[in-house]
Structure formats: C-alpha cells, structure tokens
Amino acid sequence: MEKLIIIKYGELTTKKENINLFINTLNKNIKEKLKEFSVKIEYDKGRMFIRVLDNAFANVIETLKEVFGIHEIIIGYEINTLDLEEIKKNIQFLVKEKKFTTFKIETKRSNKKIKKTSIEISSEIGAFLLKENQNIKVDIHNPEIKIHLELRNKESYIYFETIKGLGGYPVGTLGKGILMLSGGIDSPVAGFLSIKRGVKVEGIYFESPPHTSIEAKKKVEELARILSKYNGETKLHIINFTAIQEAIYKNIPHEYLITIMRRMMYRISSIIASRSNAKILVNGESIGQVASQTLTSMKAINEVVKLPVIRPVACFDKLEIIDFAKKIGTYGTSILPFEDCCTIFVPEHPVINPDSKVCENYETLIPYQELIYKAIKNHEIIKISEQEKNDYEDIL
C-alpha cells in the first residue's frame, strides 16, 4: 500500500474535445509548481496521481492549493490489486487508526470488467468492517467518516477526506491576456480572477519617472510576483509614459487629462497585446468607482481598442475587492503609499461624461502616435517568478 496524492479535475472533465489540452496543461503547471519537491506525476483522463518521494506531503498539498484547475486534492492509498480480500485487509488497517462511530463506504469502479456492482462491493466491505470493529455502525446519510474506494484498471485506491482545490481552469488553456497593473488594490484582483479562468496574464505597467519613483515600480513587481504564484512566471511590460503624460498635461484641457491618458494606455496595451499574441485586455476598472469609470467614460476610453476588455471586478463593491485582495495576499502591497502615474497630474474636476469626439479633437493637439511608437520601442520586459529573486543569497 502506497500513500499518494490524487487530483480530481472537476470542471475540466466536461470539456470533451479539448480535454487533452486541459489535462496536459494542468500537468505542466503542476510540474512547474512542484519543481522544488521530488515527486512523480502520472495522469489519465480521470485522475492525476502524485507520488511524493521525500515525505513532504503537507508542503506539496499547500502548494497544490495554489494551482488553478484542481477541483479536489486527496490523500489516498494505492493498492496494486483489485482483489477484494486484500482491499478489505488494507481498509481495516487504515480504519484502525481512526476514531469514529458511524461510517459509509462509497465505491466507484471505472473498471467495468469487475462483476460485482459498486453497491455490492460497498456492502460487502461494510459487513466486513462491522464484523472486525466494535461499536461502529453504518450511516449512509450523515456518516462521521466516508471511506472511498476506487477500483481502476489494476489498482484500487482508498481515501477518506478530500481537500478543496482552487477550481477554475489550468492557466494558459484559454490563451493570454494583458493585465493593466497599476499598483492599486483592484487590478491584482482582476488579474487573479482572469487567471482563475485559465487566462495566462502578462502585466503592463506605466511609469512616469521622475514623477513616479522606483519604489512604485518595485511595488508593481511585487504584485506581479504574488500573482505569479497562480500565473506561473509572469512577464511584466514596463512602459515609460513620461513623454506622453507631459505632452497631455501641457497641451490638453485638464478636465480631459484622465480620459485621454487612459485612451493612450489602452492603445499601448492593445499594441503590446497583439505583439504578445494576447487576445484580451484585463483591468481593475469598477463601475462608477472614479470619474474615469463611469459608463460614459468607459465607453469613450474603450472605443480606441478593438480587443475585448475584461473587467472582472466591474460589479464588485470596493469593500468586496478589498476582501478579495486580502485573501489573495496583494492588499498589503497595494496600499504602500507610492504615487503611480494615475495619481500624479490629477485634475481638480475631471470630466464625468467625456465625449469621444471631443477626445479625438483634443488628441490632434499632440503627436501621440509618434510618442506611443517610441514608448513601445523602448519598453522594458521583466520576467517575474514566484520565488522572490534573492540577489542577496551569497550576502545573507
């Protein structure tokens, strides 16, 4: 009998045609996530089996809790036989260690060559356990412990509790998206939610040195690092936005500063998306939260791009977003007090209902295409991975 981890895929199994893509991607993601551990992974269309070689079960399970596409994590025991007598002995061995008064046995047999039905097997094992142990009884509605038995091709598996996984789809199975990462509370949550649905995100961050500081950039890198726990290695595109922002500030009536700035960001993000082969833009806009997030503003801003713009937190209240950010661990970093390019050059009275025609007219006042071209040409790409890159390893 060998102890091992069994993964249930959940929602994936409903994807009939793409199932291989989904499971292969999940396998790849899990392998990457567990690269620090010595594990052996086997899988088929129904289950994934992870053998942990150095007895680091608890740590491996904690790590698996950060992988999208896993519905359930199970600690199970594998027996290399379908022989019922052997199975009974092993179940008795495992059950001996447990304290309970009521139980239920749930048998599944994916191997239909076995003559007995699942129900027959369950009742036979149940009878055996009742005979071997005193003071226990069967309760099929509300048992203290559930004994699961799965009979597969040549092996059977016994397990008791299951641990809930993150759910969602394996990252990457739905393609790529560009996440507009500002450093605030909302955009990391938006990123997390899109990653959950299988979108591999690349971040884009607009910096305006010297108006914004290196700390502000570091903060965004840290947010990307937290997201990379779920997203895997994460590319972060850093766009130097200073020239564009200064040009807007100097030439455009101030009530339109934010609207036009956002339109420029959208344009740049959309170009980066097509270069990265990303299908969507993702951002943390929430309806009505600020002047640039009224419906009219969203329309005026959204018009400059053709890609779908996904706004996972559009309908969340601020407090709901904050709770989410705390849960995924980005909140503490998001509230560090460094100015980003959205908080500098803020007009006193931004327009609440901007008109896209007006925007277009104002935009003729600056050579924005040329400025955008330059910004993209010189943009910096950082690859961020979960393991905090510790440059100080030799020093500390």
């Binding site: 500081s213 290196i214 700390e215 570091k218 510790n390 100080y392 030799d394 020093i395 500390l396």
Partner: protein, 377 residues
C-alpha cells in the same frame, strides 16, 4: 594559539566577513536616500531583517539594530523606564546580570527609580519566592538574563514570565540573551524585550539587536532625524546588518549537536581538574557547558591569565568587561568572597578541539603548580 574566551567574543567567520566586505564595497548608498543607490541599500537591509525575523520567529518591525548588547540593554531599560514611568518607578533585576545592567540601574536610581535585586538559590536559579515578594504594583520592569555570562547559568524564562505576569500583568519583561544566542534554543516570546550581540556568534563587533514586542512602547534614548526607525535614528550600518543576518543564520541551527560535543570537552576538563587540590569548579546543574568557571584559591586571576598567555592560551576572568573586580554571580551563588575573587572563565566553542583542551590541561598543571607554590611561600 588556543583561544578559550569565546564568551567574551568570537572570531569573525570568514563567510560573514566576506559579506561585510562585499556590502561595504557594493552598497555605498545611504539607505535613507531616495535615489536608487539608497533603495538598493534599503532593500538589502529589509531582506536581512526579514531573514532575522524568520530565524527568531518575530515580526520584522520588532527588530531594532543597535551597536551591541550594552546599547540594547540601555535602550530596553531606560526606554521602558521613560515610557512607563507614570505607571511606577520600580524595577527588578537579578544578581546574575552582565555589569552593563547594573550600571544602567545605577543611572536609573540617580533619576528616581528604585531597583530591587532578586536572589538566586544555590544552583543559581532565580529564587521564585523572592521574585514574587519583590513584585509590587509599581513594578514596571523585570530584567533577567537568559544565560549568565560568568557561570553560564540558564534561567527558565517562560516560568519566570508566568510568575511575574501572575503577580502583575503590566510588568514588562526584558532578558539579556547575549550569552544564549547560538548556544541554546531561545524563545524570544518568553519576553517583551531581548538583547543580542552579534560578535558572540562569529559576527563583527559593533552590532547588536534589541527585540521589542510590538505590544510595548519604548522612549528613545537617542534622537535623530530618521523617519523609518525613530527609536534608533541614524544611518543604518548596512554592512554590519547584512553580516549580522548571516552570522545568525549560520549559527542558530544544529545547537544540540554542538552542545553535545562541547559538553564532552567540559566534562573532560572538570574531570582532569578534580586532581588539583583547591580548584573549585563554579558550575551548577543549570550551567550550559559552553562556559566553565573555576576558582583557583590564593591565585590572582589576572596573574594566572597572563601566565597562560605566555603559552598563547587565552582565557577570561569574570567577564571581559569587569576584570579585576570580584564576581557578582559567584558571590550570589556561593556567597564566598574568596571564591568570587579568584575565578577564571574558560569558554568553549564548537571550534575548540580535543587537542587544544589537552594542551590547555598540560599548561594548567604547570602554571597552577608554579603559582600555588609562590602563593604559599
């Protein structure tokens, strides 16, 4: 050379020294500067602090860098006295403290605080009944070291904390853990404040730590302009901090194995010295083996120390900081003035070899016989 004074200070580990050098050369910015050289240095400090906080199992903001344990002790005792004086003016310390604690107490007495000295029993353990008696409603602070520097007596801090807090829950508990770090497992959560010195764990001299629980407050004892750390302002000692973090990391593990080895050395010395008439081993069942104190009747400790030095063997008298005086700790435990006036201290390390101990024992015999003969003439 045979170095047997590891409790006075330790030789810096070359790994730690490398870090010190590297940081001094490559991190030239002032961590308080806004430019990138400043943030680079600041980032290093925050990584170093994070590592220390994980090793000591505390929060990052609970670590204060000082110049050493003496400063940490000052900051703790005076800082608490100033911050909590409206709640009382009474402070309790043990009779087994490092001299710096007594000097601070003298100062505090001069500005109106009352100090009580709690007794210890024959084994050097804090006298719990005496401690209970001494705790008063106006007591604001108790300071008891984790490991005594002269005889290596280890105190049950957790129990002491329980006793104090039961008598008066508002009391702040400080412990000078200088002689414990790197030798025994320490739980700083037994205390509210704990002092450490890095040169006792194969790090550079000039840096120490004060653990300060986030639940208590301290008044600063020095003033400056730094916003980041107003309790201890000034430009952070970047290279020393990095070296401290590394020294702690390298020396906080594997304590059991090291102690077993050191205990063997200690037992060997004790066994051999039993042959010398008059030599009194000042060691109780609560002493850690790293520190071995003994009294040599009628021999002036300094004379003995210098005689050993002629053979390039280096040991200690009392603590390095108070050579020449009688030992408070030995007096407190054995109540014997002669014994307290003639003590020498051998302190051992995992770096000590059996061969060194053999050579020490040979020289000991030679010198002890020579000096004893002189004394009796």
């Amino acid at each position: 050379m045979i170095y047997l004074d590891y409790s006075a200070t330790t030789p810096i580990s070359f790994d730690v020294l490398d870090s010190y050098n590297k940081v001094s050369k490559e991190f030239i910015g002032n961590p308080n500067s806004l430019h990138s050289l400043g943030s680079k240095a600041k980032d290093l400090i925050s990584n170093a602090t994070k590592q220390i906080s994980e090793l000591l199992n505390v929060l990052e903001q609970e670590i204060i860098y000082t110049s050493g344990a003496t400063e940490s002790n000052n900051m703790a005792l005076i800082g608490v006295a100033k911050a909590y004086k409206r709640y009382g003016n009474h402070i309790i310390v043990s009779k087994l403290e490092h001299p710096s604690i007594y000097k601070i107490c003298e100062y505090l007495e001069s500005v109106g605080f009352k100090i009580s000295y709690v007794d210890c029993d024959q084994e050097g353990l804090i006298d719990f009944e005496d401690l209970k008696r001494k705790v008063k409603p106006e007591t604001i602070l108790v300071s008891i070291c984790a490991v005594n520097s002269e005889m290596g007596i280890r105190q049950p801090l957790k129990m002491i904390r329980q006793i104090i807090k039961k008598e008066n829950n508002n009391i702040i508990f400080h412990s000078d853990m200088t002689q414990g770090l790197g030798k025994i497992p320490l739980n700083v959560h037994d205390t509210d404040l704990a002092s450490f010195s890095i040169h006792k764990v194969y790090g550079p001299k000039g840096i120490g730590l004060l653990y300060k629980s986030s639940k208590i407050k301290l008044e600063p004892i020095i003033y400056g302009s730094s916003k980041e750390n107003d309790i201890r302002p000034g430009t952070p000692a970047v290279a020393l901090i990095a070296a401290a973090s590394k020294a702690i990391r390298l020396n906080i593990h594997d304590l059991d194995r090291k102690e077993t080895f050191i205990r063997k050395l200690n037992e060997k010395i004790v066994k051999e010295l039993a042959h010398f008439e008059g030599v009194k081993i000042n060691q109780t069942k609560y002493s850690i083996p790293h520190i071995l104190n003994m009294s040599l009747p009628h021999i002036k400790p300094e004379t003995f120390l210098h005689a050993m030095e002629e053979y390039e063997i280096y040991l200690g008298t009392n603590t390095a900081c108070s050579s020449g005086e009688i030992s408070n700790s030995i007096m407190a435990v054995y109540k014997d003035k002669e014994r307290a006036a003639t003590s020498i201290r051998i302190s051992l390390s995992y770096l000590t070899t059996i061969d060194e101990i053999n050579r020490f024992l040979n020289c000991f015999e030679l010198i002890y016989k020579r000096l004893s003969a002189l004394t009796y003439e």
